[in-house]
């Protein structure tokens, strides 16, 4: 078992941001955890999975849910029953969960609830978009805290539970890759863990749990009032701190998250002492504190990753507090790609009138080494069979999120569109309806459970005939081999083939792609069918087979 799960108060342990989040939740006495894996948040689920294996029900319940919306709803149910709840996902998962989250903010919590959302600036481990979770705060009026390092990951999770407990509202802790996958020595405190069976209680309360009009508008009013109370709390919270060495500076810096660390590094590098306001709350912002901070300045530098949400807020507040203030942000720092220390060095040097000289710029060509499917991966057999069965120039290939998104890389080059989970069939259906061109949509087993089923039913309901190949490697491979309803060792009895048939699909075949002859024959045969057909290419991931 991981060392971080031992109770060693007072000791310092090197922890990954995500490990520190788990430790923080355990120190806060978390009772219910649900998640769907997604990098850079995946380790959170893995740690709780290891911890609760064979011991669910004693002091802590954990599950990998079928998708993030279901994970959110499971967490809501637990919270409504009074349990201390943690839900974790990556940014795209929040898109799936948002339908449940927005009314959850209206109803509020019973058991304190923290939601971890991990963004991935620069898309190190993400396709589809460089999504910034921050504006969910404006959309849903949900508090967002942003830690900078693993110590803060632990502290902010605990602070988040306290905030949630005090104001009966779910709280988002937003991390980014360089926070979630950063390591440092973290000081441990006492874990609150009970070995007693957890029993919550759902007490009927339609006023809280039924979001029908006209009550729903009253709830909105109550929520907005709550947010103003939390803003007062944020004004006094040590999570928003001013670091100041002199009162005479005409230039200040406002920053948060990972950018704060680069700011500290830059100030030390140039030996300058601009006052810094470090914001732990992204929402609600401590507006009075910000206004008093910027009052005496001529310039304020807003150092934030991605889009200028903070900068826009500071511009707005400056109109009231200091209308001559020059607010500098995205003018100096790009909003595309992750923040880097040298971007902050360059901006700080400019404001401090210091020379920032980099070593001579050496242009060398570094060959690009793209990730590949592992040697021995069963997907290679699928690729080889499909390439033999069809002329790739005459067939459209729909991609999906999972290891098989590597089908787009050379030498495979078998991917003509790639969007989000569950979308290969949905978009494929639209293309079929619009063009009638031949189309093969790939989807993984875990993605099929996550969000593929409604799209498959739609092809039957609205009559289109893509060939769907479900790449069933019997695990959630890309994020670290988490279980799903039909993975190796699953006790559900759910079979993907039964589900596909239940969706109304007539042409269904489960086969082992290693059997090339049968695979080629089936692809050819199914591609000429008048209605949708599904091949379930079943062979375990090499890492699962090894276990």
């Amino acid at each position: 078992m991981k060392e971080l799960l031992f109770n060693k108060p007072g000791e310092k342990l090197i922890l990954l941001g995500n490990e520190a989040i788990c430790r923080g939740a355990l120190e806060a006495g978390v009772q219910f955890v649900s998640t769907y894996p997604g990098t850079p948040a995946s380790e959170i689920g893995n740690i709780f999975f290891d911890l609760t294996k064979n011991k669910n029900g004693k002091g802590l319940y954990f599950e990998f849910s079928t998708n993030e919306k279901v994970a959110m709803e499971a967490g809501m149910g637990a919270s409504f029953s009074g349990l201390k709840t943690l839900v974790a996902m990556k940014n795209f998962g929040l898109n799936v969960a948002i339908d449940s989250l927005l009314p959850f903010v209206y109803s509020g919590t019973k058991g304190p609830t923290v939601i971890i959302v991990a963004d991935d600036p620069s898309c190190h481990s993400s396709a589809q978009s460089e999504e910034n979770t921050r504006p969910i705060a404006y959309l849903g009026h949900i508090p967002i805290l942003e830690p900078s390092d693993p110590q803060e990951c632990k502290d902010f999770v605990k602070a988040g539970f306290k905030l949630s407990e005090q104001f009966k509202i779910p709280v988002i802790i937003r991390t980014t890759t360089r926070v979630a996958h950063q390591k440092m020595p973290v000081r441990l405190d006492k874990m609150v863990r009970s070995n007693k069976k957890i029993i919550g209680k759902f007490v009927k309360n339609p006023k809280q749990f039924i979001t029908l009009p006209p009550r729903v508008l009253e709830m909105k009013k109550e929520l907005l009032e709550k947010i103003e109370k939390i803003r007062d709390f944020s004004e006094k919270s040590p999570l928003n701190k001013i670091e100041k060495t002199s009162n005479s500076s005409k230039i200040g810096i406002i920053t948060s998250g990972i950018s704060y660390l680069y700011t500290k590094e830059a100030l030390a590098e140039f030996n300058v002492s601009f006052p810094v306001l470090k914001l732990g709350f992204f929402y609600p912002l401590p507006e009075t504190k910000i206004k008093s901070f910027i009052k005496g300045f001529k310039k304020v530098l807003v150092i934030e990753e991605l889009e200028p949400f903070l900068e826009n807020e500071i511009e707005r507040l400056a109109k009231e507090a200091n209308c001559k203030l020059e607010v500098i942000g995205k003018k100096l720092i790009t909003e595309i790609g992750e923040m880097r220390p040298e971007f902050v060095f360059s901006a700080v040097a400019k404001l401090a009138n210091k020379k920032y000289s980099l070593p001579k710029n050496i242009q060398v060509s570094v060959p690009k080494r793209l990730p590949q499917l592992c040697p021995g991966c069963p997907y290679w057999s699928v690729i080889s069979a499909v390439k033999k069965a069809v002329d790739p120039d005459k067939v459209i290939f729909g991609g999906e999120i999972g290891c098989y998104m590597l089908f787009g890389n050379p030498p495979v080059n078998m991917q003509d569109y790639l969007f989000c989970m569950g979308s290969s069939m949905g978009i494929g259906h639209g293309i079929k309806k619009a063009t009638g061109q031949k189309l093969i949509a790939f989807i993984g087993d875990s993605s099929f459970f996550h969000s593929g089923i409604p799209a498959l039913i739609n092809t039957v309901f609205n009559k289109s005939n893509p060939l769907v190949i479900i790449l069933n490697n019997e695990t959630t491979a890309m994020t670290g081999h988490q279980p799903h309803p039909a993975s190796v060792g699953s006790e559900t009895g759910i079979k993907i083939e039964d589900l596909v048939r239940a969706c109304g699909v007539k042409n269904v075949k489960t086969l082992n792609p290693v059997n090339q002859e049968e695979m080629i024959k089936t692809v050819k045969n199914f591609l000429s069918k008048k209605d949708v057909s599904v091949i379930i290419a079943k062979h375990p991931c090499i890492f699962v087979a090894k276990k």
Binding site: S125, K183, K264, P359, P371, L406, M478
Partner: protein, 194 residues
């Protein structure tokens, strides 16, 4: 612990599966053991599937950023020669390059030649060590999976990494699973031989 050491910045470049995160864990554990502040950065997920990987390890009196600022690396360990070129962005004229003599071809691409790689590295720094760690480990220890441990131990014995060999050994014993420990400890000691 060296009280005069302000900060030591090292980067390890390579390919997913070459054990970069293990190196990161050992160095940071050893640095913690000596009382330093530490920050590291790594990537998980898709980036591991045989693609390029970079990890950053920084220790010293006080460290804020987990990323090394451009031009501030003291040491670049390249587990693969072409990947070592990624270190140039982080290097300056005083940076040490410690490169495993190991070229892993990229599918459909003509691999760079060793002398082309050395020529490019020399444009930024003259302190370049090309070590046949892969071959040495294969020949003397029976497997090249310990190449990273060999390079890191070599660097510690040569005082390129300002940490005590005893701290590294202690960290190896803490980090490496029991069933592989004997081999790794043997690699560590073997790296001391001239």
């Amino acid at each position: 612990m060296d009280k005069n050491l302000k900060q030591f910045n090292m980067m390890v470049t390579g390919i997913g599966g070459q054990g970069l995160i293990t190196i990161l864990q050992i160095i940071s554990e050893a640095a913690l053991n000596e009382g330093y502040d530490i920050k590291t950065s790594e990537l998980h997920g898709l980036s591991q599937r045989g693609g390029s990987v970079e990890v950053y390890i920084r220790f010293g009196k006080k460290v804020y950023s987990p990323l090394i600022p451009q031009g501030k690396a003291d040491l670049v360990i390249g587990m693969e020669d072409q990947e070592a070129l990624k270190g140039i962005y982080f290097a300056n004229s005083k940076t040490t390059f410690l490169v495993n003599k190991n070229i892993v071809p990229i599918p459909l691409k003509k691999p760079l030649k060793e002398k082309e790689i050395l020529r490019d590295l020399k444009k930024i720094s003259k302190k370049i060590f090309l070590i046949p760690a892969k071959d040495i480990c294969k020949e003397k220890l029976g497997t090249d999976v310990v190449s990273g441990i060999y390079l890191l131990s070599w660097a510690v014995f040569k005082k390129i990494i300002p940490l005590e060999p005893s701290s590294i050994l202690k960290a190896i014993k803490k980090i490496i699973p029991v069933k592989h420990l004997e081999l790794n400890v043997r690699t560590f000691h073997f790296a001391q031989e001239p």
